[in-house]
Symmetry: C2
Subunit: 370 residues, 2 copies
């Protein structure tokens, strides 16, 4: 077993630690206690049916042995659980379980469970404590930073809050059963954190892509630690997304449009973002950045098994239209996060719609590397 890594999200009195390591579920009781999660009031664990089968019994057992009273709520897997209807069911469950103002809600699962359980914690009795126990690589992103939400039938993540957890507990062992495609998709946001902030880490990903794909615990622990470090640094400087936090959207303007047009089955979020990041790199080169920005971006994404070319059958007009509906669109020009070098980006608020269309067309011809 490798050593546990720890880092802190610095937000004044709302600061909290992230623990990353193998076998951390077994230490949940001690770590909860260390972070001041009380034992007098019941704890509600929220998870989904897939994760429940693998990890729920263990977490319940560990917490109960440490003296916690736990209740569990298991929701169906997938994005459809991020609804106000499931939110209300969880409120009922919280009431029935006797949760009070000193209770804690634990999100055991991926991003859907974290967003949903987090918004329940943000709203129950106007806000109670909350712990993130992510079980996917992708959730290294959503579990840090306090953004929680459910969907409205007409818009994703439109009903939510900023509610920071008390701690994030990342057990690398829970990642060992992830399907290969989800591993790569999760690494997309890891690489993104390098591309916006840390060129050395991008180089490291380039050198160690195969270890990551093989779920080597030491490599995975390091990569998640670095990814969380960047996310924490950005969030510490701009908790409520007034300016800097926007750089976390690298690749997301094109990516969200691709998800919407392709349907959520053809492209996973991480895959769409990967293509979007190649688009941003192309845009960067068009705007004067060195060619290396594009070649390195493509190479490192390919290394971790991610697509860099836009599927040709996706209609450019529909992609452009989907982008127009995106929040980042503003009167004729578009807001883009654009790399200036590897590990550096800027917020460009006046990218012309025509240039974006050209990039989308180019992305369909992108050379795929071996």
């Amino acid at each position: 077993m490798n050593a546990m890594r720890e880092l802190s999200v610095e937000l004044g009195e709302r600061s909290y630690p992230i623990f990353i390591g193998e076998g951390l579920l077994e230490q949940a009781g001690e770590l909860f206690e260390k972070q001041g999660i009380g034992k007098k009031s019941p704890v509600l664990i929220v998870t989904d049916e897939h994760v429940a089968v693998r990890h729920l019994d263990k977490l319940v057992d560990v917490l109960q042995r440490s003296g916690y009273q736990t209740e569990s709520a298991v929701v169906p897997p997938g994005e459809t659980s991020k609804s106000l209807a499931v939110f209300e069911d969880l409120m009922t469950k919280a009431l029935q379980a006797g949760l009070d103002r000193k209770s804690t809600i634990v999100a055991l699962g991926g991003g859907v469970v974290g967003d949903l359980a987090g918004f329940v914690a943000a709203s129950y009795m106007r806000g109670i404590k909350f712990v993130q126990v992510p079980t996917t690589i992708l959730a290294h992103d959503s579990s840090v930073g306090g953004k929680v939400a459910v969907n409205h039938p007409q818009a994703k993540n439109i009903i939510g809050a900023f509610h920071q957890p008390e701690l994030v507990l990342y057990d690398l062992n829970t990642l060992q059963t992830l399907p290969a495609r989800e591993v790569s998709a999760g690494l997309s946001e890891v690489v993104k954190h390098g591309l916006i902030w840390d060129s050395e880490f991008v180089q490291w990903c380039d050198d160690h892509g195969d270890r990551l794909l093989a779920l080597d615990p030491e490599a995975l622990g390091y990569a998640l630690y670095k990814g969380c470090t960047v996310k924490a640094a950005v969030v510490s400087r701009d908790e409520r997304e007034n300016d800097l936090r926007m750089i976390l959207n690298l690749g997301h303007t094109i990516g969200h449009a691709l998800e919407a047009v392709a349907g959520y089955n053809e492209l996973l979020h991480g895959e769409a973002i990967s293509i979007g990041m190649v688009g941003s790199a192309r845009l960067a080169v068009e705007l004067g950045a060195p060619q290396e920005v594009l070649t390195v971006t493509k190479r490192v994404l390919s290394r971790v098994g991610l697509p860099v070319r836009l599927p040709e059958h996706l209609d450019t007009d529909r992609i452009m239209e989907a982008m127009m509906h995106d929040k980042k669109f503003l009167e004729g020009t578009m807001i883009f996060i654009v790399p200036t070098a590897i590990g550096q980006v800027e917020i460009n608020k006046s990218v012309s719609t025509e240039l974006v269309r050209k990039i989308v067309e180019q992305l369909k011809q992108e050379a795929v590397q071996a």
Copy 2:
């Protein structure tokens, strides 16, 4: 016309002003602008059917003349609108109206509208700006302090947030059409603010009760100013109800139980709280406070037309049972806010259930003053 009164709720970067005066609706445009409510993004006014008839057209007209784009949403009057279903309808309305992150939601109405619209503002896109335009006396209490919520079928106010408004705009003219019974019930929380914090103001209410009942604008403006001042002082010291803010619950432990047992039609909130405050004063005397605490409390509440005796037909066992379900109950003893003198209270965490039962019985025999 009397001068406008202004006071500030001091909460660091979340500080905001309360404006109280006659004809302030006509000045809404300027006051919004002064507080930084932007004109580029649409404003959504939320109100109920009763208030809409009287004041909506004027507010819309004034804001549009100042250059604001407004949309309106009218909900049914009454507590049943504080539901997740109406909350979701308002989210749909906000989306359709094109509200963005710089938009503002205006609550025009009493406590129900303020709580509901406030929770929509707290959650839409994880929180947008919010303005309170209270149109009842009771709402002087709920519109200050940032507590917003909707009800769960099994519990009041259980789903909510702390979300401070940008400003509170209190037009005394909107109060002139209130029915007499609601005037008295609203004054209950005004008197409460005196009883917990300011003995001179209690004396003033005692001296000027008839002017308040006659809705004399100068007296009403002063009383609301004083009530809001106390509320603001308490909230500034304890925004999230960790300790001090609990003193605002004077009379509420018994009061909530009476509301639950009597049904929400027999006793208005303010009436139930009035009887609860007499109960707290009785409790205080039992615990050693001077007799004057009881006599003055009863006298001032009577002066503003409020009941001081508990209706005999309400069953003591059921009242006790309702109190046990209250959040303020803890293992055999109860938490009560207890006066130590007029204008001073303490938080007593070990009041015996037996003593409370005795007080409830005594409240049924309370002598009513002329």
